[in-house]
């Protein structure tokens, strides 16, 4: 084992180091802003203001955050089992069928509160099904889940284009999308929720699925930390040999984890389809599946970290849109850069600053610690 692991106080491990990584990611992003000739501080101010300064902004921020909570949870659940599910994008995309079809079938017959549970089950089921094959291939045939889920993203994309263009598009329409849903297929907005704290969300599509996202965050926490299954998943993720010792069946856990991950990613489809557009459009996922990777890494795969991380990215999405009015040089693609930088510094380079920090804390508690260490040997 490398020296220094597990020797730092918990708040440094789970608080300080991720924070430093995040700050570095944003500093580098600031350099990009500088490179395009804008003032990064002003950009940051605009962004925060655009995201939280007024009701509609907050509404949009939380609308985007809803997507990222779902996909962040999806990636995190897989991480707990030591799996890297890059396929959230595709799982969410295909899972659009799980909400769109029930809405197309029943939107005239059922009120939203009856259609919603069907749609939740539908998205979860389709998303899980799309993750099942990569999971099964990993568990039974050892095909690397990273590669297969990437492939499944593209297969999903082709499938959905085909369905939207050739099957689901109403006759006579040009746009590759389903018909609009009637009232039964429309989730109510959560304007009252923000009104309670004095915001008017205006036209922001902040809707009921946000509550589902929070519920899922809670359920994920319960499943991972409070159930036998979660215990087995975490054991697998930390130490496959210990799992074998404990009699945990590896392939079963891998498949179940991928099903859960796919179901969570799938539920993301509810938010834009039933909550905002009230129809299924081409490419409605819009990269949220990938944002989930950054959110999970930043939130350290814990719901308590994932929700703020998702809101941060919601802020970036909404605030980014605002910035582009004031600073035309900075479009929403800035978020994609930040996303990449967060993944790089909070993920691949997560231990870059650890040796320095460890040294710092070692010198801080220097003589005392070494004296007690040598005494205990």
């Amino acid at each position: 084992m490398s020296a220094g692991y597990g020797k730092l106080p918990a708040w440094v491990d789970f608080g300080l180091i991720p924070l430093i990584n995040l700050i570095v990611a944003f500093l580098v992003a600031g350099l990009v802003v500088l490179a395009v000739g804008e003032n990064p501080l002003r950009a940051a101010g605009l962004m925060v203001n655009g995201a939280f300064g007024y009701g509609e902004g907050v509404g949009f921020t939380l609308y985007y955050a809803t997507n990222f909570i779902f996909t962040g949870l999806a990636v995190a659940v897989a991480f707990h089992c030591g799996l890297f599910n890059i396929g959230g994008e595709g799982q969410a995309y295909v899972a659009g069928l799980g909400v769109a079809l029930p809405c197309l079938w029943f939107d005239d017959l059922l009120p939203w509160y009856l259609l919603f549970p069907i749609a939740v089950l539908g998205t979860a089921f389709v998303g899980a099904a799309w993750a099942l094959i990569p999971g099964w291939l990993q568990a039974k045939r050892g095909s690397h889940v990273v590669i297969t889920t990437i492939m499944f993203n593209f297969i999903a994309s082709s499938l959905m284009v085909y369905l939207l263009v050739d099957v689901l598009k109403p006759a006579g329409s040009m746009a590759p999308e389903t018909r609009g849903f009637t009232e039964g297929g429309q989730l109510p907005k959560l304007d009252w929720l923000l009104a309670a704290v004095g915001f008017d969300i205006g036209s922001a599509p902040f809707n009921f699925s946000f509550l589902l996202a929070l519920l899922m965050a809670f359920i994920v926490w319960v499943v991972i930390w409070r159930t036998r299954l979660g215990y087995e998943i975490r054991t697998m993720g930390h130490s496959p040999t210990a799992a074998r010792y404990a009699g945990i069946r590896e392939s079963r856990i891998i498949i179940i984890t991928m099903l859960m991950s796919g179901a969570l990613a799938g539920m993301m489809a509810l938010n834009p389809i039933m909550g905002d557009q009230h129809r299924m459009q081409l490419d409605f996922v819009g990269g949220a599946g990938f944002v989930g990777i950054a959110v999970a890494l930043m939130g350290r795969s814990h719901p308590v970290g994932i929700i703020p991380a998702a809101i941060l990215f919601g802020m970036l999405y909404q605030g980014g849109a605002e910035i582009s009015f004031e600073m035309p040089e900075i479009s929403r693609d800035m978020i994609v850069i930040i996303q990449g930088l967060v993944i790089l510094f909070a993920g691949a380079l997560e231990n870059m600053f650890r040796p320095a920090i460890t040294t710092f804390f070692a010198t801080l508690s220097g003589a005392r610690a070494s004296a007690s260490a040598s005494a205990s040997e």
Binding site: F84, R141, M151, F152, L159, I293, S331, I337, N351
Partner: protein, 323 residues
């Protein structure tokens, strides 16, 4: 005869779309045979395409554009190398990060510098690559069959096209006939063997990853300076991932890589050609199915139903000296 003409046209476009795949897949081959997985081919290619478009647009020189593409792509490769080799970070995570950074940065910088909605400036004469006519191509164009194949199919491509195909045997030769190749293959299988033989694992892997960056850069330059004239945002359009699929499909072997890329390119060309036209016996095949076929085939291969794709044994694992 009409069928034959169609075939020539389809094969021509097969070659055209296969070139970036071949370059990117060979790029991945250098990295992955050395034990560093790279799902960042897409990002490096995109960044290369942007750099090429930008520099060629400003300087009106294709060669400078190519050089810029290589430099930028290699720089991103070095980031990947630093994260994976020096910092022993997760290779997949690092690759994902690079893809996003490239996807975002090319748009932001493009818009800021050129203000053309993510496009780079129009390329004049000499700023884009021009086509090469093979010797005697015009003379024998009229000869049936041979003329069609030689003048119609083989002649009239870009220099980079011929380079890409020449790189296939060259890569094979490098891997199997040079010291660098021998060591590169060894470090991807058993870095311990390389280390105990007195060779630096770190430096060797860095070099392999830099090779990957250079080739991705060339692939990018092809996109923006040959295939089209100038950079358009998101123009790598998943080519990097298809190249990755082709690399796996080819079981990490150079000559197989070429055939896999040609196959995937052919599927692409057919998809465009067939749009709406029924195939005999099968009927209308949705274009999207043809587009998804490379990925479906790769998954089937990965599942072990057609042969077995065994990645380099030390792939994905940072090298740590055993205690």
């Amino acid at each position: 005869m009409e069928f034959f003409d169609t075939l020539i046209v389809v094969l021509q476009s097969t070659i055209r779309v296969s070139v970036p795949l071949i370059l990117a897949a060979l790029a991945g081959l250098y990295s992955e045979r050395a034990g560093i997985f790279d799902i960042g081919l897409e990002g490096k290619m995109l960044a290369g395409a942007f750099a090429a478009g930008a520099v060629a647009g400003i300087t009106q020189s294709a060669i400078l554009g190519l050089g810029a593409a290589i430099a930028v792509s290699a720089a991103l490769a070095l980031v990947h190398a630093f994260a994976c080799i020096t910092q022993r970070g997760n290779q997949i995570v690092s690759g994902v990060a690079i893809n996003f950074i490239a996807a975002g940065a090319t748009v932001i910088l493009g818009q800021a510098w050129f203000q053309q909605g993510g496009r780079t400036p129009a390329l004049g004469e000499g700023a884009a690559f021009s086509r090469v006519t093979l010797p005697f191509a015009e003379d024998i164009a009229g000869v049936p069959l041979i003329g069609d194949i030689y003048s119609g199919l083989l002649s009239g491509h870009f220099l980079l096209t011929y380079l890409a195909f020449a790189l296939v045997p060259f890569t094979w030769w490098v891997l199997h006939r040079t010291r660098f190749g021998l060591r590169l293959r060894a470090v991807g299988e058993n870095p311990g063997a390389v280390d105990t033989a007195g060779i630096s694992v770190v430096w060797l892997r860095y070099r392999a990853v830099i090779c990957c960056g250079i080739l991705c850069g060339i692939a990018g330059a092809y996109l923006s300076l040959a295939m089209t004239s100038g950079f358009v945002k998101g123009m790598s359009a998943g080519n990097g991932y298809i190249a990755l699929a082709a690399l796996i499909f080819a079981k990490w072997k150079p000559v197989n890589v070429m055939f896999a890329c040609l196959l995937f390119g052919f599927l692409d060309a057919m998809a465009i050609r067939m749009q709406g036209n029924p195939l005999p016996l099968i009927g209308v095949v949705p274009v999207q199915f043809m587009q998804a076929l490379p990925y479906i085939l790769t998954v089937i291969l990965l599942a072990g139903f057609i042969g077995k794709a065994v990645p380099p044994r030390a792939g994905g694992v940072p090298y740590i000296k055993e205690r």
